[in-house]
């Protein structure tokens, strides 16, 4: 037990750094920032896996040792406990006056044991009657509850491990109107656990029909997001209308589809000098603040020379002398598209992957700057840009975690076990008659209440009650 306890404490202590230093899987940007600000410290911390703490070998080691130690101590106790079912309480010890609660009674010996047995049975003790003594025990379920609790912890640990070895987790951004098919290539990014096979993915498809966000007019805080999709599972079967909200994902077995984030995609049409359509469609922009001021990039590598547009989208445009143009409300009330147009080399051939939200302007020259209202056309010299409209986009997170249900079962059993064990009082009571009448009791772990119980028994036997 001591080993396990120490391991448990170690697990607690070991998890602390993860809450003080940024974690790669939660916030990779912050990790990069940390590296920039404290390069040497960051390197040392990285060697100790501080930035991937919860998947680090040493954290896992503590976790596995605790797991083994738990099994090692709980299993033998479980077997012992099962063997003890139906067994009689242990024999009355020789010297009762050494017990925690002890009393000598002022009553004749005759009939004492009968009377005591009746009282003990009424109070739901298990009774072992010998010729000159009784030993009785109560609170067997304390140990049952305790074991159930500790066994449930094992189940939870297993379920968490299963979640790490099987399953997948991915994200995709979809505009209203887009269709999504659940295959690895449809995702913007997806990661598979070690033993997960790609063929095991649920074969569903969905079409984004509508997305509505509503906001509190006083605080601008969002009050509701509702996403309507037409979903088919398996692909090609009849589509069913489904609603996804922040707290109610769409569920297919162990796979759940969550609404994680949303934003705007302005729709633009771009023509070259001759009037030929170069590009028309929705471009996903990234929100920068609570009012959905969004930034994005439009890259036109097929024009010659190449054109790149650094743009921001303001759903409700406003101006201030200090901040310049910004959005003052997250809903689209007075939309504006701000573009600065650059001409030159987009640098797409360099082989270095580029963000789709930014333009590398190092080899480009700015040729225009403009703020467009809806349906406004801007002639930037090399061609024209039409701000046609906008669409909402949603970011869906699609998670498959087969361990989840077991963790939930484990949690439920753990609580039941805890309640049983913490609220059951386990104790033994003995009565001995050899010339005189002696009673004694012992409460496991000094749980209170024994004295009252012995006093009640004493009263009964002395005929003061009942």
């Amino acid at each position: 037990m001591r080993t396990a306890l120490i391991l448990l404490m170690m697990l607690g202590l070991a998890s602390i750094p993860g809450s003080l230093f940024p974690q790669r899987n939660q916030n990779p940007m912050k990790v990069r920032e940390f590296f920039k600000n404290n390069p040497t410290l960051a390197q040392w911390l990285d060697k100790a896996k501080i930035f991937d703490l919860y998947s680090s070998p040493w954290f896992s080691a503590i976790y596995i040792l605790l797991f083994i130690s738990l099994i090692g101590c709980v299993l033998p106790r479980t077997f012992e406990h099962i063997k003890a079912i139906g067994k009689k309480p242990p024999l009355t010890p020789k010297f009762l006056d050494r017990m925690e609660g002890f009393a000598e009674l002022d009553r004749p010996v005759d009939g004492t044991l009968d009377l005591a047995e009746k009282w003990l049975k009424k109070n739901r003790f298990r009774v072992r009657r010998e010729e000159l003594s009784i030993s009785a025990e109560k609170g067997y379920s304390r140990e049952s509850g305790n074991l159930l609790f500790h066994l449930s912890l094992i189940l939870i640990l297993l379920a968490v491990a299963a979640g790490g070895l099987y399953g997948s987790k991915g994200e995709t951004i979809l505009n209203v109107g887009d269709r999504f098919i659940n295959t690895p290539t449809s995702y913007d990014n997806i990661s598979f656990a070690k033993f997960q096979r790609e063929g095991d993915m649920v074969p569903f498809s969905l079409r984004v029909l509508d997305f509505k966000a509503s906001y509190d007019v006083k605080t601008n805080a969002p009050t509701d997001y509702t996403l309507q999709v037409a979903a088919a599972n398996p692909i090609g079967s009849k589509e069913v209308l489904k609603t996804i909200k922040v707290n109610s994902p769409l569920t297919y077995g162990n796979t759940k589809i969550y609404l994680q984030a949303n934003g705007y995609s302005p729709v633009v049409a771009i023509r070259d000098k001759s009037g030929k359509l170069i590009f028309e469609g929705a471009v996903t922009f990234l929100p920068q603040d609570g009012n959905l001021t969004s930034i994005g990039a439009i890259k036109l590598p097929d024009m010659s020379p190449q054109i790149g547009m650094v743009a921001s989208f303001l759903p409700t445009a406003d101006r201030s002398p200090t901040r310049g143009a910004f959005s003052s409300f997250p809903e689209v009330l007075d939309p504006r598209l701000l573009v600065s147009v650059w001409m030159g080399d987009l640098g797409l051939d360099s082989g270095v992957p580029q963000s789709v939200y930014r333009v590398d302007t190092s080899k480009m020259k700015r040729i225009g700057l403009k703020s467009l209202k809806l349906n406004e056309i801007y002639n930037f010299g090399e061609g024209t840009l039409l701000f046609e409209g906008y669409k909402s986009w949603v970011n869906l997170q699609i998670v498959d975690d087969p361990g989840k249900m077991y963790a939930l079962f484990g949690a439920i059993f753990a609580i039941l076990g805890l309640l049983t064990s913490l609220f059951t009082r386990q104790r033994r009571i003995w009565i001995k008659v050899d010339g005189r009448v002696q009673i004694a009791g012992l409460a496991k772990n000094g749980v209170p209440g024994l004295d009252e119980e012995l006093a009640a028994l004493k009263k009964t036997l002395e005929g003061l009650e009942g």
Binding site: M1, R2, L5, L8, M9, L11, G12, S15, I16, G18, S19, P22, Q23, Q26, N27, K30, L53, Y54, V160, K169, D216, K218, T219, A221, P222, T223, D224, Y225, K245, V246, N247, S248, P249, K256, Y258, Q260, Q397, V399, D401, K404, A407, L408, A411, A414, I415, L418, L419, L422, N445, P448
Partner: protein, 298 residues
């Protein structure tokens, strides 16, 4: 009644409660400081309470009234926003203070703990004072991630657990202070009427054993909520990590209590440590944390 009026009414209730707790504080202070030594020294106490007993009873009455006003304040706050009153740190704090003083009243009835009135009224006043000055935010609707039945369950379980944990902490701290006094040659006069060390040790154990399952449940309800809102039931977000640490610390405390040689002083320190992890989570992680759990509204 309009939302605005309800919110004002809530604020007035909170201010009234603070006023009542202030009276309770002074009443308990009088009780403690003006008790006189009696000649007929009994085993348990060498103090004459008859002169200050009335002060103590006034203190208790004020604690009860304060609790009622605080309760009304919390309910009205929820009514003004048409939701459970647990959307930002101001609301967590007033509900936490409510749970703490509720736990005290419960213990008062069950274990006759009037002597705790002084530290409890101080703690409640500090919490409410911080809430109305630093943490106050106008009543507003919830952000979508907070709209869940599991939020109501998770937060209420966590807040009640917190109230009882802090009460256990108050008792453990008292234990350590008295323990120190006894080691240095005996209790000061005012401390003589406080319960024995053994009783204090038992008491904090009982409180912790009583709420540990509730705290376990609160953590699990949080995991269920996280699963439905964010797609994972456990992500080692700072808030989750510290909830886990608190859980481990109290489990260690419960184990320590059944381990020979760990009762008493060591257990009291463990209890204090565990309670501090809870407070740390509440204060530090809510305000400075970077996780998804930062709903403080600050």
């Amino acid at each position: 009644m309009t939302s605005r009026n309800l919110a004002y009414l809530s604020n007035y209730s909170i201010y009234s409660a603070m006023f009542l707790y202030t009276i309770a504080f002074f009443a308990h202070a009088v009780e403690v400081s003006f008790s006189v030594k009696t000649t007929e020294v009994s085993e348990k106490t060498s103090f004459d309470f008859s002169r200050t007993d009335r002060a103590g009873r006034i203190g208790t009455a004020m604690m009860i009234l304060g609790f009622i006003f605080l309760f009304a304040g919390v309910i009205l706050r929820g009514a003004s926003a048409h939701r459970v009153p647990w959307g930002n740190m101001y609301e967590f704090s007033i509900t936490g203070a409510l749970a703490f003083s509720g736990a005290y009243l419960f213990a008062l009835v069950k274990y006759k703990l009037r002597w705790l009135g002084l530290p409890v009224s101080i703690a409640v006043l500090l919490t409410l004072g911080t809430a109305v000055t630093v943490l106050y935010r106008p009543s507003a609707p919830l952000v979508p991630a907070l709209k869940s039945t599991w939020l109501a369950i998770h937060v209420s379980a966590a807040i009640v657990s917190g109230g009882v944990f802090l009460l256990a902490n108050t008792i453990a701290a008292t234990y350590l202070i008295l323990d120190r006094m006894e080691e240095r040659g005996g209790r000061s006069e005012w401390a003589k009427k406080l319960p024995s060390l053994e009783t204090l040790d038992q008491l904090s154990y009982r409180l912790v054993a009583f709420v540990f399952p509730l705290w376990t449940f609160a953590v699990i309800a949080g995991a269920i909520w996280a699963e439905s809102a964010w797609g994972r039931y456990w992500g080692w977000d700072p808030k989750e990590t510290w909830a886990f640490i608190t859980w481990v610390a109290y489990a260690a405390y419960l184990h320590a209590r059944v381990t020979a040689g760990w009762r008493g002083r060591k257990a009291a320190w463990l209890c204090l440590f565990a309670g501090s992890t809870f407070l740390f989570n509440y204060i530090y992680v809510n305000i400075y944390g970077t996780g998804r759990h930062t709903y403080s509204g600050l």
